[in-house]
Symmetry: C2
Subunit: 154 residues, 2 copies
């Protein structure tokens, strides 16, 4: 249901959310997210186009989040690549329906509403905090331990 | 979020659900669903491949539902064209995650679960009954009146 591109965009944003102040090279992002480099480059361009990340070219270049992880919802990431949209008027353009949806389109709209609510209420910070689970997004056992040590030191 | 193909497949199935015992010509389905004929033909082939509808070629030919509208959920229709899948194991293949999802993939799995629940609990019969709303799927004012008269006569 959620596209491969959505999955990859969410991985890339999660990866950047671990280091919100650093410019992370695309090669490093490709490794952490396990996304093919060419595909990832396109996803990053789209995310930059939506002003969710900022890039700098050349030596020492890379990408970083445009805002703090606490201020970026998963829904913004999803919408940047594959927008989730509510149905506000009859998709068939039927005059007698208009904004009054039939049972079919009410269900489809409800699906969009549920997903928007779920992703809209979760930020990148929520995701990478790992709260309520020992698993951190994108992190192997050794990366998890390293992050835990860094966080404990702060 | 739900693809154009999903929308078209649900329209086609709803249209057939109004007349579950008739072979409906593709041209008539294209008109009712407002789906371009070529696109609709492909969608119908996919639905037939998933055994949700049966077709007969030639004069007097067309498509009809394989089962009663009460026995076909919207989820089966969605799954025939764009499967909604739960996430059962780490999509990155991380050893230390496995079936224990991280917060990112738990959210993505939850989105799939919500949509599966919504569409899995609704049948084509629920949709075309028009219960709780004056709008019937795919129906103009005159078609709605005609269906109401037919139903009242039964």
């Amino acid at each position: 249901m959620l596209s491969q591109t959505v999955e990859y965009a969410l991985r890339a944003m999660s990866s950047l959310a671990y280091r919100p102040n650093d410019l992370v090279p695309t090669s490093e992002l490709a490794e952490t997210t396990k996304v093919p480099s060419n595909y990832l480059a396109k996803v990053l361009q789209t995310l930059a186009g939506a002003d969710l990340i900022m890039g700098r070219r050349g030596v020492g270049g890379g990408y970083r989040l445009s805002r703090a992880p606490e201020e970026i919802s998963l829904l913004e990431v999803v919408n940047a690549v594959n927008p989730v949209e509510r149905i506000t008027t009859c998709p068939l353009g039927l005059d007698n329906h208009g904004p009054n949806l039939c049972p079919l389109h009410r269900r489809m709209d409800e699906a969009a509403r549920l997903v928007m609510e779920l992703f809209g209420s979760t930020t990148l910070a929520d995701i990478v905090s790992g709260e309520g689970t020992p698993q951190l997004p994108l992190c192997s056992e050794s990366m998890t331990q390293q992050i835990r040590i860094e966080r404990a030191g702060k």
